[in-house]
Amino acid sequence: MLNILDNRLDNRPDNTPDDTVNPVEQFLRSDRMPHIWCPGCGIGTTVNSFAHALIESKIDLQSLALVSGIGCTGRVAGYVKLDSFHTTHGRAIPFATGLKLANPKLNVVVYSGDGDLSAIGGNHLIHAARRNIDLKVICVNNLIYAMTGGQTAPTTPSHATTSTNPYGTFEPAFNLPHLVEAAGAVYVARWTTFHVRQLARSISEAFQKKGFSFIEVISPCPTLYQRRNKMGDGLDAMKYYKEKSKVKHGAPTSEVGLTLNGEIVVGKFVDRDRPDYQTMMRAQYVETLGERYLGDEVETECVCG
């Protein structure tokens, strides 16, 4: 098996910034540019923060894999210069679970949207949190199904106008931090795309945690959500995020639900420790099987000869 040293680790511009080179570029597949995201969309901003988190955390890039589902945010996997998997709709988390279990040395990031993770993938989200699988989930929440034209999502605030609720939504939305905390996540934070440094820091912190981490990023969709709700363009979204966001670290997640025009509570809400799935699995097998337990690492020779 090849073992390639990734010299991007040494090239990180933490000491001597070269302002002719975008420090983020080394993490992107520049041959895939331009990307598909609309002007004013926040997803690219989150990728920028993610890249800065890679710089800050000094995480080993070769061991880092990124898994996305389907949707606008699902396209992140195609633009990052990492082992990356663009899976089926809603199934990024179970794919990532298999990846992590087969190769425990990998650091696995799930990077997907609110519809993908909490609607069609909602069952996987809560079960992965319950199991405390060691995954870092970045959920870009644009409050709508954007790729398909702006339909109501489980995260759409009540009374927002969407293409499938043209007279306004009336069903209650999921409060995602509350949901994943209740299901067992060890790290839960929320930021907006206005909070680029705080977001990068949270992603760095999540890399230090062992277990199911969940970072929600409120992100504008000017094309579909902002326009239909007369909320202006991407810049107007930034102004809204700046004015209405309240940093409340440790806020009870039951109190951080979002409304159409109201306050956005941001910050680190949960940071706790409990054993992750693989730690519990190994302990159980060691206790019950003793020396008969041969571990969970798959030997490469067994597969590749």
Binding site: A65, A102, D296
Partner: protein, 386 residues
């Protein structure tokens, strides 16, 4: 290469088909499985869950079949040989990920222990009514391989074959058992590890600069890398080019989808396994598979006792369909008799391949039991007179 001895339970055993399937998977090198319980298949992963910690690997019971069928593919890209096991209702839920495995060329095995359907149907009773679903259940044009064991011994032997085909062609392989084969207990001989041939993953040896994840070198099956190897590759279910990058053009679609189809079809002669008996002088050929082939054997023997010239063609490989073999036989036999535990699935393939050169008689059965051999015998008699 030879099997990893840790996974091989060498010896003579008294096993049911489900357990034998599990032992075949372990012998083939499977070290990861994701499952969701469903009768009559659950015993396969129950045994795997008990065995795999002592072999090196793990099993996880997922929250549903959607999760199981994609978690196993995460396991494959993480470097394991992996499989999942289900029955009809779960197989229906797995269809999307059979398509994903076909599109991303993820080598893996889906075991379907068939029961009566549609819907919840007959959870504890047999059928063979998922045969067309195995071939066509996911959307779009794609090609898979499907094998049909008819005994616990074959559940062991052919599970290894299923994994070997999966690795050689980078394709999802459907292992089409049925409730009777799954729960039938018989002698199963597991040979020593050094007598078991196992196909290694087609892992690339190219440098990072030279590696193109979906480039082929004439044999139509690209080389694979695993996450963590350093290649920074991309995998997507979207139509993709040789870089693995999405490309939404009819030209790339045509090139990709035709290759996915041709890599299997061009090797069909080698993939199509079958058992034949008394075909030399046969006027009538009974074409059967799985448990029905064992019932058909009795009908064939009885027909021969009556002096009827009847032969046997047992399909071990159902997909790709052995149409060349059927066409050859059709040139000099009068008729095919096709008993199966469904209301007519593979019989249509036999008819298509016979192309009017021989008649085709279905012996249908809605499932819940096996045929009475007399039903097959009566049809053989009828076919002999045509």
């Amino acid at each position: 290469m030879k099997a990893d001895p840790r996974g091989v339970l060498t010896g003579t055993h008294f096993l049911d088909g489900d357990h034998a399937c599990c032992e075949g998977a372990l012998a083939a090198g499977a070290r990861f499985a994701a499952g969701y319980p469903i009768t009559p298949s659950t015993e396969v992963v129950e045994r795997f869950a008990a065995r795999v910690p002592t072999v090196g690997g793990c099993f996880i019971q997922m929250e549903d079949e959607l999760a199981a069928s994609i978690a196993l593919q995460g396991g494959v890209w993480g470097g394991a040989k992996a499989f999942t096991v289900t029955s009809g209702p779960g197989f229906s839920l797995m269809m999307e990920h059979i398509g994903y495995a076909a599109m991303t060329e993820t080598p893996c095995v889906f075991v379907d222990v068939q029961r009566g359907g549609p819907s919840t149907g007959l959870p504890t009773l047999p059928a063979q009514a998922d045969m067309m679903q195995a071939r066509w259940g996911s959307h779009g044009d794609y090609e898979i391989i499907a094998l049909c064991p008819n005994s616990p011994q074959e559940c062991f032997d052919l599970t290894i074959q299923a994994f070997n085909f999966a690795e050689e062609f980078r394709v999802p392989v459907m292992f089409m058992m049925d409730e009777v084969v799954g729960h039938m207990t018989e002698k199963v001989v597991i040979p020593p590890a050094d007598e078991i041939d196992v196909t290694p993953r087609k892992h690339t040896h190219k440098s990072v600069e030279d590696y193109l994840p979906y480039s082929t070198n004439g044999d139509m099956v690209p080389e694979m890398a695993h996450a963590g190897d350093g290649y920074n590759f991309h995998v997507t279910g979207l139509t993709h080019d040789e870089h693995g990058y999405p490309n939404m053009t009819p030209q790339v679609q045509d090139k990709l989808v035709r290759r996915l189809q041709n890599k299997i079809r061009s090797a069909a002669d080698r993939i199509c396994l079958f058992e034949e008996d008394r075909l030399d002088d046969a006027d009538v050929v009974v074409v059967s598979y799985g448990i029905t082939s064992r019932v058909a054997q009795r009908a064939i023997d009885a027909a021969r006792d009556q002096g009827l010239k009847v032969g046997k063609l047992r399909l071990i490989t159902a997909w790709p369909f052995p149409e060349k073999k059927i066409a050859e036989l059709a040139a000099h036999v009068k008729a095919f008799v096709v008993p199966e535990l469904n209301l007519g699935q593979m019989v249509h393939e036999v008819k298509r391949a016979a192309d009017g050169n021989a008649k085709t008689f279905a012996v249908s059965h809605a499932g819940g039991a096996v045929h009475n051999p007399d039903e097959i015998l009566n049809t053989i008699v009828e076919a002999s007179r045509c």
